[in-house]
């Protein structure tokens, strides 16, 4: 399992770094686990990248799991239509 650990300040400032981390994780053959433990909230840019990644994972029938998601982030994902 490939684990991508999100940094506390994952967002627009480091968005390209996050994008490439997710890109690499998707290319890896195994499942992807996103660790949100350090994240208190996300921004729109970060959620967009997550949405795009989730869609691509779905297309390749791979599963993307999340852990350490707090209520605020969960709510943000919900607001953006991510289940």
């Amino acid at each position: 399992m490939t684990v991508v650990t999100l940094e506390e300040d994952t967002g627009i400032k480091k968005i390209r770094q996050f994008q490439s981390a997710l890109r690499d994780a998707i290319r890896a053959p195994d499942e992807v686990m996103l660790d949100f433990s350090a994240v208190r909230r996300l921004d729109c840019a970060a959620v967009q990248v997550l949405l795009a990644a989730a869609r691509e994972m779905r297309e390749t029938s791979k599963s993307m799991k999340m852990r350490g998601v707090n209520e605020a982030v969960r709510n943000q994902l919900y607001l953006c239509g991510l289940r």
Binding site: A45, Q48, A52, L79, C80, G81
Partner: protein, 701 residues
């Protein structure tokens, strides 16, 4: 008069809601899922609305408070924790009492709950001003009177919006804090592939309906800095919603496409695309997968959701008195009897006419069978909801004992006759109580035995060979066979040195007055119970067995018939009468030898069968009829079993087995416990059904 009618409807409706609520609150404790919070909110919302209409002002005001708490939970202002779950469960209990009219108990409990609610609402960080739609302990009565407003909001952003330091998501969160979204669609159709996308550009837009108590300018203010150069449209659509309209519930009666979009699997545009290219005879799901918008797994998930919703709608809307169904079944029985009468006439006709009539009857027969199955299926309901009610019981009981136990439910969709479900509630509760009290060890003990601190009780239902099995399994310490044996010896049930296998030892647990508990517990250990469990289950024509492994746990396995209205019976003849013995109770049939028949003190006439003495029952004596054979060695004997006892019923002839539709006997026809009902046979004759359990009891008297 009319008021009473409304209250009656409310009473019935609320009972169902309260049961659902309990299950969902407990689910929330296990996993904080936004869907569950939303459901809880809707339940309290419905309770609030209908209690107001039914005139329960106290319930109305109280549920309004809880609704506000849940609203905060939804917006992330209140964390889901034990404290919240306790508050919700307490509130649920209070509402239950208040609806049942328990005014005395209600007052104090209500104040305590309201105080807790206020603490919870008050300890929340003051959010960006107008968050709350019910201030902490404010003026509930006035607020309730104020209606909600509904706003349709479209929020599309320039793709370079991030450059100006604006975060659209933050704006959406601010908007959410004003009230709640009763409709929420996120357009992600512009979102490119991950590799192709410029992550510094904004691709998302939202279409929402906000329900709020805030005035229009508050909604406008949220978009203050973006409305000029972005695509923002705000429309007041309050007129489209009447003040008492319940929250629009998009989760019900949802179509597949809607489920997929609401779960964010499909975008609006993708759905429109699929719908426009949908040809006749083609399934929507298949096309969505074909176009690559969703995987099979996503689709299956959506289908399951749809099924769940459908089921919920069905079980919550169809209310038919079971007596009416019984009436239908009885009528059908009459049709079957009429059919066999016509069949007999067909036999007497000349060959050609008889053949034609029989052919026509054959078709009719098929329809009546299907008819019967349909009626039976109406009586069948899933066991899930009645299983769910045990979650609360397990939670509260284990907490009281300082144990940590989780109830897991499997096979909730298994269907069983409604009457059976109603009657197994108590026995199941008893077995679960046993598992909590005696089965699962205290956390410390579990840890030192290398187990998880948290104990598990599994409640499982499944179909097998035309029966339904319900299992209560725990992963506790298992039955202590040594202590069981000591206790059995002390009580004189076993003699020292008696050779008995484990199964036989376990069956002692079902004997009246037997308990291995050293202390009489709060929950069990009084020695009353397991025998009652067995009796109750047997009265449903079921059976129960135990399986236990030291250190690993104990499993109670209850076998139940699918329905109480039809049994598989053995037809036997005694003299000129026909009796039916339930097949489930029959152990074997045999012809006894003359030398095996004895008379034993206190037991009466017995037959020795492979070293064991079985009491002989002369059915003709019991019912006062004239038999063909009065000597046991000339007649046949059907050995039946009930509980720990076996008896041999003397009969003249075995006629064969058949499915029997049971008709109940009125009390004035027979007061004998040995009869459970009657059935009309194909030729119109009436056969009495023997109640083996009652027969054994009657004999022991």
């Amino acid at each position: 008069m009319e008021d009473a009618g409304i209250r009656e409807v409310f009473y019935k409706e609320s009972r169902e809601i309260l049961d659902n609520l309990e299950a969902d609150i407990l689910m929330l404790e296990e996993m904080s899922d936004p869907d569950v919070v939303n459901r809880l909110f809707r339940y309290f919302h419905t309770l609030k609305g209908s209690s107001g209409i039914a005139g329960y002002k106290n319930v109305y005001e109280f549920t309004h408070k809880i609704e506000s708490v849940l609203d905060r939970v939804r917006s992330g202002g209140i964390e889901v924790n034990r404290e919240l779950v306790d508050l919700l469960l307490g509130s649920l209990d209070w509402v239950r009492e208040a609806i049942a009219g328990d005014d005395v108990a209600s007052g104090e409990a209500k104040q305590a709950l309201i105080a807790k609610t206020n603490v919870l609402m008050g300890t929340v960080e003051p959010a960006s001003e107008p968050v709350s739609n019910a201030g902490a302990g404010g003026e509930p009565a006035r607020e309730i009177e104020v209606g909600y407003r509904y706003f349709r909001v479209h929020a599309g952003f320039r793709d370079d919006v991030f450059e100006s330091g604006i975060d659209p998501l933050l704006i959406m969160e601010d908007l959410a804090a004003l009230g709640k979204f009763v409709d929420r669609r996120v357009d992600r159709s512009k979102l490119p592939l991950l590799t192709d996308m410029d992550p510094e550009k904004c691709y998302l837009s939202w279409d929402l309906v906000l329900k709020t108590k805030q005035p229009p300018n508050k909604v406008d203010e949220v978009f203050l800095f973006v409305k000029d150069d972005n695509d923002i449209l705000i429309e007041d659509i309050t007129a489209m919603y009447t003040s008492e309209t319940p929250v629009q519930d998009h989760s019900e009666e949802k179509k597949l496409g809607e489920i997929l979009t609401s779960k964010g699997i499909l975008t609006e545009q993708e759905l429109t695309d699929v719908l426009s290219s949908l040809e006749k005879n083609k399934k929507l799901g298949a096309l969505i997968v074909e176009k690559g918008y969703a995987t099979d797994k996503d689709l299956q998930f959506a289908l399951n959701e749809q099924e769940k919703i459908k089921k919920r709608v069905e079980t919550s809307t169809v209310r038919v008195d079971t007596e009416k169904l019984d009436g239908l079944l009885n009528l059908l029985g009459e049709i079957v009897i009429g059919q066999s009468a016509i069949n007999r006439i067909a036999d007497e006709l000349d060959e050609e006419k008889g053949f034609q009539l029989k052919n026509a009857l054959y078709g009719l027969d098929r329809v009546t069978r299907e008819f019967q199955e349909q009626i039976m299926s109406i009586r069948m309901i899933p066991v899930g909801p009645s299983f769910e009610q045990f979650r609360r019981f397990v939670r509260d009981s284990s907490q009281a004992l300082g144990k940590d136990i989780r109830l897991e439910i499997e096979g909730g969709e298994t269907e069983l006759d409604k009457t059976v479900i109603e009657k197994i509630g108590d026995p199941l509760k008893h077995m679960i109580r046993n598992a909590i009290d005696h089965g699962i060890e205290p956390p410390g003990e579990r840890e030192s035995a290398g187990k998880e601190r948290m104990g598990r009780i599994m409640l499982r239902a499944y179909h097998q060979e035309g029966n339904v099995f319900v299992e209560v399994a725990d992963d506790g310490g298992g039955v202590n066979f040594r202590r069981l044996r000591e206790k059995a010896e002390a009580m004189g049930i076993l003699k020292q040195g008696d050779e008995v296998n484990e199964q036989r030892l376990l069956s002692i647990l079902f004997m009246p007055g037997f308990s291995t508990a050293e202390k009489v517990g709060e929950l069990s250990g009084r020695g009353v119970g397991m025998d009652v469990v067995k009796t109750n289950i047997e009265s449903l024509r079921g059976s129960v067995e135990i399986d236990s492994h030291p250190g690993k746990g104990t499993t109670f396995r209850v076998k139940l018939p699918l329905t109480l209205a039809i049994i598989e019976g053995m037809l036997v003849r005694v003299g000129g009468s026909i009796y039916i013995i339930p097949l489930l109770s029959i152990v074997e049939s045999m012809q006894p030898r003359r030398e095996d028949i004895r008379t034993v003190k206190e037991k009466g006439e017995v037959v020795q069968v492979r070293g064991e003495y079985v009491t002989l029952v002369r059915l003709y004596d019991l019912f006062g009829i004239k038999p063909e054979f009065s000597n046991p060695w000339e007649s046949l004997m059907v050995i039946v079993e009930s509980g720990m006892s076996r008896v041999g019923i003397m009969i003249d002839e075995l006629l064969g087995q058949q499915q029997i539709v049971i008709k109940s006997l009125e009390n004035y026809i027979s007061r004998s416990r040995a009869l459970s009902g009657a059935a009309i046979l194909g030729d119109g004759r009436v056969a009495l059904i023997i109640d083996v359990h009652g027969l054994v009891e009657e004999l022991s008297k």
